[in-house]
């Protein structure tokens, strides 16, 4: 997440910084490759049911630990389940949790951030106090505890991760709201007699939203990793539902016999997280540069 830091420097470093050259109006080809990969994974997850894949949970249809072949492009695992099918169905869990949790965080955290950043005062102080406590609270312990106790199903995992994402998202939105709250067009709207909620929704929100959405991509990557860690520990959605984290843990048991079982889900998760990080990072820079050019 700290990766988003360099933006301010690239602005100053127009002379030969390398990066500065292509941070600008164009997003660059790597961005489109990243966005394309994310789109591909989303598509695969949505279409997993219609694609000619074997049942990802059926045991004993094939020999165990087959290498990649025409019939099984990625091979099979310890229980003879098709790995390609499991990786694609696993994308469903990861993406559902990632997108749903951040949608929740964005709705709740975004609203809190907007209100706290615009009205300031006591409300803002209250928010700051709460955020300080929440951010000092060890996220992983919270996550493990709540999920262990509540039971391991999709809704609880999504809500827990969503709650955890509220404070960081609210902080970013609050900071951006404060930047816009005193700009001329907001003052003008206020002078014309616009009410608070109108200014928030019509004047400030459209300006804050792009940056928040760009940050959300990186946040989705963080949530996907967190869900991966949970399912790696066996605490996310229960087996036999395939999850990348769970597959990586299973593959870890047979590393000595067949490293491929762990490799495929690891690669899928790595590339997806990398693409989300890159696209989010680039978009954040893109929107920041536009602000600077105003």
């Amino acid at each position: 997440m700290a990766a988003a830091a360099p933006a301010a420097v690239t602005l100053a470093g127009v002379d030969g910084d390398g990066e500065a050259a292509y941070v600008g109006r164009r997003l660059g080809s790597t961005f489109w490759i990243s966005a394309g990969w994310v789109a591909l994974v989303v598509l695969a997850a949505v279409l997993a049911g219609v694609l000619p894949l074997q049942d990802p949970t059926a045991i004993g249809n094939n020999a165990p630990r087959l290498g990649p072949s025409a019939g099984h492009l990625l091979g099979t695992d310890e229980l003879g389940r098709d790995l390609l099918s499991r990786v694609l169905y696993g994308a469903r869990t990861s993406l559902t949790v990632g997108f749903a949790a951040i949608a929740f965080g964005l709705a709740v955290g975004g609203a809190i951030g907007l209100v706290a950043g615009y009205y300031r005062g006591r409300l803002d102080a209250l928010f700051n106090g709460l955020a300080t406590v929440l951010l000092a609270f060890p996220a992983l312990i919270f996550l493990l505890t709540v999920v262990t106790f509540l039971g391991q199903n999709l809704v609880d995992v999504v809500l827990t991760l969503g709650v955890l994402s509220v404070a960081p998202i609210a902080r970013i939105v609050r900071a951006n709201t404060m930047v816009y709250a005193n700009r001329e067009f907001v003052l003008a709207a206020r002078a014309l007699g616009a009410r608070g909620h109108r200014i928030l929704l019509r004047e400030i929100l459209p300006n804050v939203l792009p940056g928040a959405l760009a940050f959300s991509l990186v946040a989705i990557a963080v949530v996907i990793v967190a869900e991966g860690a949970l399912s790696f520990l066996g605490l996310s959605v229960r087996p036999p539902t395939p999850t990348w984290g769970g597959m990586i843990a299973e593959g870890g048991q047979v590393l000595a016999q067949d490293g491929l079982v762990a490799l495929w889900p690891s690669l899928a998760m790595f590339l997806t997280v990398l693409a989300l990080n890159f696209a989010g990072d680039r978009l954040q820079q893109y929107f920041e540069v536009r602000e600077g050019g105003l």
């Binding site: 990766a3 830091a5 609270f137 992983l140 312990i141 919270f142 039971g151 520990l233 843990a249």
Partner: protein
């Protein structure tokens, strides 16, 4: 001084809030240590008896205040499971986790500082692009994947380091280091990528300052300028990020301890969560939060030491 007092007051408030939240949260959730201890087949009489014995029949808020009162006098209670005083378990486990954290940060800084400096010096050129891309890629590798990769390479493929089996420092220092090598690398590489990127960015900004040009024109050797003139004022963000990274780092350490079965605070916490051992979980949670707040307080104090001049100038 007033700043310090305010921050210490903040620490107290945060710790009270964190302990209350974690204690009450744990008690609100379904399942309790009695069931975990006796198993599902226990008779209702046995359950009731053990519940009374452990004091669990009293309301949660009352137990919280009893616990808090004892905690302030240095008694964190005992585990419901093995009746070991919580303070004793933490005393045994904490040094292991601290050693793991320290080793990982040594690895992270030993790699990040030279790489960050050289990347900044040659910014935009091949080495910088390679190092920056590699660190960006590394940021996308979750700890548990990195752990498995390292186990595959160094334990399965080439039997250089053990995958599990912790040896205590007092038993055999050398074997202790060997058993912590893979866990520390797993944890350290993640921090390394963050640190390198941050240091590189700051260093590029510093190298553009007039006093660096001045030092160059005096004919001072490059390495001298980098280490004596440019490094310290460039560590501003690095230190901040390092402080904020503590939360992520401890979370990572918990998972790494679980994967490599290192008997530290993380393994204790995770096992206690499974066993519904409320007091142990609350205590470790408070301890981790206290560590987080204290480290960030320390970071604030470090700023003035690192560069008294920059404090007002940089954020002007």
């Amino acid at each position: 001084m007033r700043f310090l007092a305010a921050r210490l007051a903040q620490l107290v408030v945060v710790l009270l809030a964190v302990s209350a939240v974690s204690f009450l949260l744990l008690n609100q959730l379904p399942g309790n240590p009695v069931v975990a201890l006796l198993g599902p087949a226990a008779t209702p009489q046995a359950v009731a008896q053990l519940t009374r014995q452990l004091g669990l029949d009293r309301p949660a808020w009352l137990r919280y205040f009893i616990w808090l009162g004892n905690a302030l006098r240095g008694d964190l209670g005992s585990s419901y499971v093995n009746h070991q005083p919580v303070l004793t378990s933490i005393g045994q486990r904490l040094p292991v986790t601290l050693e793991l954290l320290a080793l990982s940060q040594v690895i992270a800084l030993a790699l990040a500082v030279p790489l960050g400096i050289v990347a900044a010096l040659r910014s935009g050129r091949a080495f910088d692009r390679l190092a920056s891309s590699a660190s960006f890629g590394l940021l996308a590798v979750p700890g548990f994947i990195l752990a498995e990769l390292l186990v595959y390479l160094f334990a399965v493929r080439y039997n250089l380091f053990p995958a599990t089996g912790y040896v205590h420092l007092t038993e055999d220092p050398l074997q202790n280091l060997r058993s912590l090598t893979l866990p520390s690398i797993t944890l350290g590489l993640g921090s390394m990528a963050v640190y390198m990127r941050v240091l590189r960015t700051d260093m590029i900004a510093t190298l553009r300052q007039d006093y660096i040009t001045m030092a160059r024109s005096k004919g001072l050797p490059t390495w001298w300028i980098l280490l004596r003139h440019a490094l310290r004022p460039s560590t501003f963000t690095l230190v901040t990020v390092g402080g904020l990274n503590v939360g992520t780092l401890v979370g990572g350490a918990f998972i790494v301890e679980y994967i490599f079965q290192v008997p530290g605070l993380g393994l204790l916490t995770i096992n206690s969560i499974y066993a519904r051992d409320y007091l142990v979980v609350t205590s470790t949670t408070v301890l981790v939060s206290a560590g987080f707040v204290l480290v960030n307080l320390l970071v604030d104090l470090l700023y003035t030491f690192l560069d008294p001049r920059v404090r007002s100038a940089r954020f002007a």
